[in-house]
Assembly symmetry: C2
Homo-oligomer: 338 residues x 2
């Protein structure tokens, strides 16, 4: 049986209230008694029972994260940041992994009302208005990451600007035949998760083309389920077009990897024969010398926790939007067309 506050109080010859005071180092404890209590704690190897503390505080001291596919590099990287930041705090972290939209809906319903978390971070999963209403009605603070809603806190990037940035880079290199390779653009049938980033990146792509006076060619936009394998197939399709593009903007580094492979298989040299740019700057991008748009994934996690902890301490504060910067990282997969 672990020692309780009563054992400590008895050993130190004080009341339990005093022990509690040194635990929460509140004022008005004579330093001599504080030391006596601390000695007793050490002697008994006392650790306060977190459950009892939560019970008395009326808080769970726990933060939940709802994230899709924690196998994908970008999600895992954000999670790393979140975990690191939560570990520094007094909070525990519970991870809810979502692999189906049913699971998402179940968590969206049960987690806020379940009284098991004080705060919630949601990654990349846009809540509906009904969801948001429920979040607000429950007392849990919420921070969205990589998705947005005006009534909730959110850490985002400007995906449209990123798409524009990537496309402009290719245009500046002299490309005019630029393809966009992505996952399906927000078709709720094919994409039950309603991910939005590929759509906004697409809009940035379109905008950059328009600004440069380059007409959009629909055959240059190919989309399929998000995976390296599907991306490879799409890239093959693009490269075997009668008038193939000279550059491919992939909506994620994972998809850019598929494109790189397709190019190799078609005996095209990158970047001499075909330029390829990705998005995210996941770990492996450095290694592949992939030109990409860097978003600060790890830092996003840190910032999300920081904002959430702030909200926990200042309930009722207005929802904030934090937009993190993007950066073009030029490596070795983009060059002027021949």
């Amino acid at each position: 049986m672990p020692a309780t506050i009563y054992h400590v109080a008895k050993k130190a010859g004080v009341g339990i209230a005093t022990v509690s005071r040194v635990l929460n180092n509140s004022a008005n404890v004579r330093s001599s008694t504080r030391e006596r209590v601390e000695a007793a704690m050490r002697a008994l190897d006392y650790h306060p029972n977190p459950i009892a503390q939560r019970m008395a505080f009326g808080k769970t001291l726990t933060i939940g994260v709802i994230t899709p596919f924690f196998t994908r590099p970008a999600f895992v990287e954000r999670l790393r940041g979140i975990e690191a930041s939560v570990a520094e705090s007094e909070y525990d972290l519970i991870v809810y992994n979502v692999e189906t939209s049913e699971k998402r809906d179940a968590y969206f319903r049960s987690v806020p009302t379940g009284q098991r978390v004080d705060g919630l971070i949601i990654i990349s999963l846009p809540p509906t208005n009904a969801d948001v209403e429920r979040f607000l009605k429950s007392k849990v603070s919420t921070v969205l990451v990589d998705t947005s809603h005006s009534a909730l806190n959110r850490i985002i990037i400007d995906d449209a600007a990123g798409g524009r940035m990537a496309t402009q880079h290719l245009i500046q290199l002299g490309h005019r035949k630029i393809a966009y390779l992505s996952d399906p653009l927000n078709d709720p049938l094919v994409s039950p998760f309603r991910f939005t980033s590929s759509l906004y990146r697409y809009q940035g792509y379109r905008q950059a083309l328009e600004e440069a006076g380059i007409p959009f060619r629909s055959e240059y936009h190919q989309a399929a389920e998000h995976s390296r394998y599907q991306a490879r197939l799409l890239a093959h399709k693009l490269l075997s077009l009668p008038d193939p593009p000279t550059a491919i903007f992939a909506a994620s580094d994972t998809q850019a990897m598929g494109a790189l492979e397709a190019a190799h298989e078609d005996s095209l040299k990158v970047p001499e024969d075909i330029s390829i740019i990705g998005f995210d700057d996941i770990e492996i991008a450095t290694y592949l010398h992939l030109t990409t748009i860097r978003q600060p994934l790890y830092e996003t996690g840190l910032r999300a926790v920081e904002l959430l902890l702030f909200c926990l301490e200042h309930p009722g504060s207005r929802p904030q939007e934090i937009v993190l910067p993007l950066e073009l990282v030029v490596r070795e997969t983009t060059a002027p067309p021949k």
Copy 2:
């Protein structure tokens, strides 16, 4: 304010004990009153407070996982299995990510005594005897995954057998010049995490060579920090040996990927010029057509939770060892030597 058991009791016109009975569906509740209580719960949108339940039960209803680098595919895949299995249960899951040996030691000390988990899963991090003693003294049940100690439950694979299996496959194809590419073999200075699998796989490799009467050549064993990049460098080194190997057994699929790249860079065809076999069968191995030794990573996670839940229900049961099967998966990166 969320409704409490008192509100439900009052609304249903019963005592709180009765409400508690229907919550924990214990016997001896007349079905008519049960229905009345359930109706009241629904009307009040009542959800029992998990903290209070834990307090009363004297259990945390929480499982912890201590895992290194949850970015690496093999760890993430095991975690997925763990998360899926815990989500089915009444338990919450807390993830402790370890990126330094100090962090590991801190968690090994604090988690079992912190009264915040009932059970603990530890992935790939061998505890010292002192650690184990502390685990046993605390009341938390422990399950090791991918690491072993005779006093603790463990889900493992036979790494030596796996190493032998991989090497025998190459021998059977006719190879005699077989290299082993790994991370450092358990040198505590270079490898503060004391990972053991590469060492045992090495022993299996040595044994297979010996059984086939092939002398071991020390220049055929190259080791460096676990990464695709380092593995690529090591492979280059092997391939530029005066008498280079005709086959490389990489201690993990990640390292095998590095070897594949080195081969391509040296204009060697795989498997015609050089055979490469990996270990783990992570997701991407299928995609790369990599021959490998498959270990059931996801299932390992499921089994770990299953065993842990069993221990939680049967405290004092003797530590079990579960050895999961390995399987040679022949794809397209191994072939007879020229």
